[in-house]
Structures are given as structure tokens and as C-alpha cells.
Amino acid sequence: MNEPKPTPPRGHDPVETERLALAIKQGDRAAESMFVKRFTPGLLTVLRVRCSDEELCRDLAQESLRIVLLRLRGNGLEDPAGLAGFLRGTALNLLANELRRSAHRTTETASDWLDQAVSERAGPYETVETDDLVRAVRELISGMKVERDRDLLWRHYVLEDSKERLCAEFTLSAEHFDRVLHRARQRLRELLVSRGMDARM
């Protein structure tokens, strides 16, 4: 029987983070594995916002985790509560160094997404992935039973109507609006996972 894989904890628990840092210092390899699983998604997100090269993002995330792990195994951090800041700083420094070295790797912020984000991913893998993403979005839309929610998504994401305007027009509270978007993101995530994709940027 396969041993169940350790599941990284969800949500932010500072006490648990402190325990994790301590366990790593004491040489607990399972804690190291947990550390990597837990902090990889966030680090990748931070890097992907600044860099469109997926492979580079993965390399840098891994390198950042390696550097911080070595630090935790050794001297540790003076303040374990500052772990997130330390991870972020390490990742951004590595990225800055890498970009300095490779001037041709241009950063592409998500603000350019409308015109560039999709069309510039022209490789065969990216094309297949984009097709999958589009299929998932279509499925998301067609699966929404409330027509208002479908309208809301379209106007928010394509026409970029403001939240205030949409809330006023659809007589929704800001919280309700956020819930609709949250549900849509969750559903899209499920659809992407079911297609073997992650919701990368």
C-alpha cells in the first residue's frame, strides 16, 4: 500500500511555520519536504507575475527554496515570522540577477495580458495549453446556471467593467460580487486540474 503523500497545510498558521523551521533546523527531512510543498505555489506566483519564462520561474523558485533551506538547517532565522519576507527577498534577488545576466529575457507584466499574454505563447506546448484553458473557461461559462453570473464574468474580465459599476447595475453587494468571482476561480481551478494543468499565469 502506498503511503499517503503529506499534504501541505492550507492557510497561514504562524505557529506551524515556526515549528516547521525548528524541525528543519533539527534535521527533520519530512519537514523539509513539507517546506518545499508548502512554499512553492506562493513563490511561483510571485515570480510569474514578474517573469513570463515558466521554466526560469520554476528554476528560481527551486533555487530560492534551496538557499532558504540551507539557512534554516544552519543558523536558522532570527525571527521565523520573517520567513515569507526572506523567501520573497531571495527569489526576487535571484530573479534580478538572472535578468541582469540575460537581457534578452524580458519581463512581461500581467498588465499587458489583454493583447500579449496569450498570443505570445506561441510554442506548441503553450498552444495546447491555451486551448485547454479556453475549453475550461467555456465549460466554466456554460456550467454557470445563473445568467447574471455569466454576464458578470464576461463584463468583468473582458469588458473590464469596474466592480462598483457591476455591483450597482446588478444590485449586488461587494461581498456577493467577490463570492461570484471566488466560485468562478475555484471552478476553473477544478477544471484545469481535471485536465492535468495548473492554473499558471
Partner: protein, 246 residues
């Protein structure tokens, strides 16, 4: 759901519009909280997916179908309006909803399995509302002016390649079995019967029909509700499928 950061903050983050301090706070939070990281990634994926949909829509849209909003609005409203007869108000309301909801509902409900279907959707959007997608029109528009609608037949224009149309009608009792019958004027008795499906949260009933069954011509439409073991006519109206635009 992480409530510390609103959807606007996440959106601004992806656009790199946050000030340095807020950006740092959010990034440290999402490094610590895989759930928040997932949320941000999913938001980015959603935006990328919709961006791609929009890009494909632009690419597949025939040039001749692009009109100004004003032009489209005029095209949309002019042929339908005529003098109302009071006793037809209820039917006209249903007809107005039928017509205005048909293509939008198709757009929204059709599970698009083929690219051709999707291209058809895009054409329909533009024809119905200029530079706005038809299915983004507020549903309330469908019932705004029932009294201004007429007893003249409702026209439904189906763009080429539309494979299926979903029709939506309001219902006070969406749980009661409902069916819709289309009877071609040219072939009395040759009815197309569609079973209604309750649409949750909408107080509405949906009907789906392959567009190949909706041949151009005039149809008498009867919506029937099951009552005491039999079918009772709930409303009737006339529907014209316009041959010129198929």
C-alpha cells in the same frame, strides 16, 4: 477564502498597480498561504482564458458583421415594434423574452463542443448588439417593454452555423412539467415538442432545439404546463424564423 485581500487588490496586483508596501504584504501573505496563491493563480488564469476568448472572437468575426452600437440597436429594435393589442401583452412579454433570450441563452448555455459552434456564437453576439456580447445584456432588458411589443409575429434570426438554440421563458412554477410546441404554419399538425428544463435560480424554464429543426417560416408556439394529468396551454405566440439571415 482569504478575506484579507479583495478581488480588486488581487487584480491590481496582477496588473502591477499596487504600491510597494501593499505588494510586499500581499506577496508575503501568498507565500505563506497556498490557498491565496491558488486564488491569485486562478484569477490570472481566468483573465488569460477570457483574453484568449476575446482574441479568438476578434479573429473569427466577419468584418461585415461589425456595426456601431447605434446601428445595431436600430437594427435590433426597428422590425419588432408595432402597435400593441392589450390582450396580447402577456404573450408579447413572453415573445419578447423568447426572442431576446434565445440567442443570448444559446450563447450562455450551449456547451460548445466544436469550434464552428463557437464561431456562430460570436457572429450572433455582434449582430444582436454591436460591440457588446449579446449574452451580456442584462436579462431585465428582455421584459422592459412588453407593452411596446406587438401582436405581430416575433422574428428570430439565426446566424449561420448555429447548431442549437436554447430558449428561456419565465415561469412562476418552474417545477411543474412544461413543454413547448412549435407548429409550422405551412404544416399544421407537424409539431416539434420540446421538454422544458427548470433553470435554477432564474425562475425560468429552458428549452433546447437544434437549429436544423427550425426551418425558415412561421410557427405557432404553445407553451403547455402539466395540470391534473393533462396538458394545459399556458401561453401562445407566433414566431417567424427569418430565412434571409440564416
Amino acid at each position: 477564502m482569504n478575506t484579507q485581500f479583495s478581488s480588486e487588490t488581487i487584480r491590481a496586483y496582477l496588473d502591477r498597480h499596487l504600491d510597494a508596501r501593499t505588494e510586499q504584504a500581499l506577496e508575503e501573505a501568498l507565500i505563506m498561504d497556498a490557498e491565496l496563491a491558488d486564488e491569485v493563480q486562478a484569477e490570472a488564469a481566468l483573465r488569460r482564458g477570457f483574453a484568449e476568448l476575446k482574441r479568438r472572437e476578434t479573429e473569427t468575426q466577419p468584418r461585415s458583421n461589425v456595426h456601431s452600437i447605434g446601428d445595431a440597436a436600430a437594427r435590433r429594435t426597428a422590425p419588432v415594434v408595432a402597435r400593441p393589442r392589450q390582450r396580447y401583452v402577456r404573450y408579447a412579454a413572453a415573445a419578447a423574452l423568447f426572442g431576446l433570450a434565445a440567442i443570448p441563452s444559446y450563447l450562455a448555455l450551449q456547451n460548445m463542443r466544436q469550434q464552428a459552434d463557437f464561431e456562430a456564437r460570436l457572429t450572433a453576439r455582434i449582430e444582436s448588439s454591436g460591440d457588446r456580447a449579446a449574452y451580456q445584456l442584462p436579462a431585465s432588458l428582455s421584459t422592459e417593454a412588453p407593452a411596446a411589443a406587438s401582436d405581430s409575429p416575433l422574428r428570430l434570426r439565426l446566424p449561420e452555423n448555429v447548431r442549437e438554440v436554447s430558449l428561456e421563458l419565465p415561469s412562476t412554477d418552474s417545477r411543474a412539467p412544461t413543454r413547448l410546441q412549435l407548429e409550422p404554419a405551412s404544416q399544421p399538425g407537424a409539431q416539434i415538442t420540446l421538454a422544458g428544463v427548470p433553470l435554477s435560480d432564474d425562475n425560468a424554464i429552458g428549452f433546447r432545439v437544434g437549429s436544423e429543426r427550425l426551418l425558415p417560416g412561421s410557427y405557432k408556439v404553445t407553451v403547455e404546463r402539466q395540470q391534473d394529468g393533462g396538458w394545459v396551454a399556458d401561453r401562445e405566440f407566433v414566431l417567424n424564423i427569418d430565412a434571409a439571415q440564416r
